[in-house]
């Protein structure tokens, strides 16, 4: 794929095959990739330093075609799932399992680690919505897909499942807690599903897309409400929680949340703040005093308007991070293999990579009841 500017994606057959640039690199031939909700922020031109000519995509699996001289664990022919974080494994942050905050993979920004296919503020790496990808630090995060693990489950373990799981984990959910998830996109759906693993007593999802609410109700065994039908979601949630507020609120929306004209105008139309914070506002205002707000929704720099006074006065614990995929993988692979999680159940569309422009439009405009589009490169389709 070839990004040409906001809302413009081109399927480009003339992209060069990436080369080994570093002794710890591998070149991977992509077998499956996904479009992430956060790719849509790039597609919509919301993320600074998104350069024309980039290839997006940070969720992919592939077969190792070539390895650098320093790679010792992976070998040519291995079929791997590649976590979206690029992690060196040796910096102070990686050593403490903050693999999403690596200090040696992103020269352009200190606020975030390196990611595949996510603008230059994440390191300027081309991503996995392609036939071939250069994978740095190949011995650290890429993981050989275990026998018996479906490739479609594997590709969802590169981001969506760990991010949804970590959203629930950061909520510090205790048995019996009421958990509210804002956003019924793929990550919100997964966060709602994972909240039960921590012993939630009640899980409520808030969104405004009816087909997604219907989906999440069945997939994640939860309650789901359309905020356009309940007028004030904060008041609704207070009433739903005996007027105290939820124990845990999860923001799984990020910078393109709907629901507030003021936020939409200042955040999306005029770019006076880094997107809209409507979901985060609702999370902060809907959680109980002393409650926990977990943020996995993506927000761009430089700043957003948030109700800081409520965070302080209510004694809210705010927890946030990019998912540390490598840390979570062993546990999540076990959950999937044991049937406790069914990631591939959220894939709604399987689309050839050559039709990537249409795939982005379908996902962005939420056409054809799209939940999660999977891209299949031509060579993988033939295999």
């Amino acid at each position: 794929m070839n990004y040409r500017g906001p809302f413009r994606i081109r399927a480009d057959r003339n992209r060069p095959v990436p080369q080994i640039e570093h002794p710890y690199d591998a070149i991977v031939r992509v077998t499956r990739s996904l479009i992430c909700g956060s790719d849509l922020h790039l597609y919509h031109g919301m993320v600074p330093d998104t350069r024309v000519g980039m290839t997006f995509g940070h969720e992919f699996t592939g077969i190792v075609e070539e390895i650098g001289s320093g790679v010792q664990k992976l070998k040519v022919g291995d079929h791997v799932l590649v976590p979206f974080n690029i992690a060196c494994g040796t910096c102070p942050f990686c050593k403490q399992e903050l693999y999403g905050n690596c200090h040696e993979s992103n020269p352009e920004a200190t606020a975030v680690g390196g990611f595949f296919g996510y603008a230059h503020i994440s390191g300027g790496y081309d991503g996995g919505q392609a036939e071939y990808v250069r994978v740095p630090f190949a011995d650290v995060s890429p993981t050989v897909i275990p026998a018996g693990l479906d490739i479609e489950d594997a590709v969802l373990l590169t981001d969506v499942v760990p991010t949804g799981y970590q959203a629930a984990e950061m909520g510090g959910i205790q048995k019996g807690d009421t958990v509210v998830v804002f956003g019924a996109g793929p990550v919100g759906i997964m966060a709602a599903r994972c909240a039960w693993l921590f012993g939630a007593g009640r899980v409520i999802v808030i969104d405004h897309i009816d087909y997604r609410l219907e989906f999440v109700k069945k997939y994640a065994f939860c309650e789901a409400y359309n905020f356009r039908e309940i007028d004030d979601p904060v008041l609704f949630l207070k009433k739903q929680t005996d007027w105290l507020g939820a124990d845990v609120c999860i923001d799984a929306v990020g910078c393109e949340a709907a629901g507030s004209a003021m936020q939409t105008i200042t955040g999306k139309k005029m770019l006076l703040q880094a997107g809209t914070t409507t979901a985060l506002h609702w999370a902060i205002n809907s959680v109980k005093k002393g409650g926990i707000v977990s943020v996995v929704g993506v927000y761009g720099p430089p700043f957003n308007l948030v109700p800081m006074g409520s965070i302080m006065n209510k004694g809210i614990t705010l927890r946030a991070n990019q998912a540390s995929v490598k840390r979570l993988l062993p546990k999540l692979i076990d959950h999937v293999m044991a049937g406790r999680l069914n990631p591939k159940g959220i894939i709604s569309h399987r689309i050839p990579l050559e039709e990537i422009s249409e795939a982005y439009h379908i996902f962005s405009a939420k056409r054809d009841n799209c939940i999660k589009p999977l891209l299949i490169p031509p060579r993988a389709a033939m295999a």
Binding site: R4, G5, P6, R10, E21, H22, P48, D49, T50, R51, V52, G53, M54, T55, G70, Q72, K73, I86, C88, T90, C91, P92, F93, K95, Q96, E97, H103, E104, S105, N106, P107, E108, A109, T110, A111, G114, H120, G123, G124, Y125, D126, R134, F137, E169, M170, L271, A274, P302, T317, R319, R327, S357, E358, A359, Y360, H361, I362, A365, R367, D368
Partner: protein, 176 residues
């Protein structure tokens, strides 16, 4: 993975030098420290590695063959980096300017957003230079809109056409 030490033993040490000095003169220093009070758990498995600062063993440096801009909030580039789309043209000039400012500044981020918009125009010019006419219908995925939301697509197209016609008519009549 074998790590190769390529940095001097101690790059900077002022922070640790100050932090490691004796605190005996401060009454009660550390008396209420509680290692269990760690709101970062389980995301972070605290090992004290933070206190190494930049004196950790680093992987080899990726050779720099293209221009890489880096945040002024770090002393240099990282051991690996992406090689996609180095800065070029007018947008590249704007990006170089933006990277002179820290990540805490509006100039940095708004400069980069502005560069992105300029870059989109450069992309179109570049296409024409190479003899490629951008196919907006294809690039914007409108065939999917035609397939799944035909009525909406027609409505938007007709509205756009009417507004454009009205604007042209208004401008033309003013000139007369």
């Amino acid at each position: 993975m074998e790590n190769v030490k390529t940095e001097p033993e101690k790059i900077a040490g002022i922070d640790r030098e100050i932090a490691d000095t004796s605190k005996d003169h401060i009454p009660g220093w550390g008396i209420d420290a509680d290692p269990e009070n760690d709101p970062t758990y389980p995301m972070k498995h605290r090992t004290g590695a933070d206190y190494e600062r930049l004196n950790y063993e680093k992987p080899p440096q990726q050779p720099v063959k293209i221009e890489i801009l880096h945040s002024v909030e770090r002393p240099g580039i990282t051991r690996v980096f992406g090689t996609s789309t180095p800065p070029s043209g007018v947008s590249g000039m704007i990006r170089r300017w933006a990277y002179k400012y820290s990540e805490a500044t509006t100039a940095h981020w708004m400069g980069l957003i502005f560069a992105d918009r300029v870059n989109a125009v450069e992309g179109i010019v570049d296409d024409f230079k190479k003899g490629t006419i951008p196919n907006l219908f294809k690039e914007r995925g409108w065939s999917a809109e035609w397939k799944y939301n035909r009525q909406g697509f027609i409505r938007s197209a007709v509205t756009g056409l009417l507004v454009t016609t009205a604007v042209i008519a208004f401008c033309t009549s003013k000139r007369k």
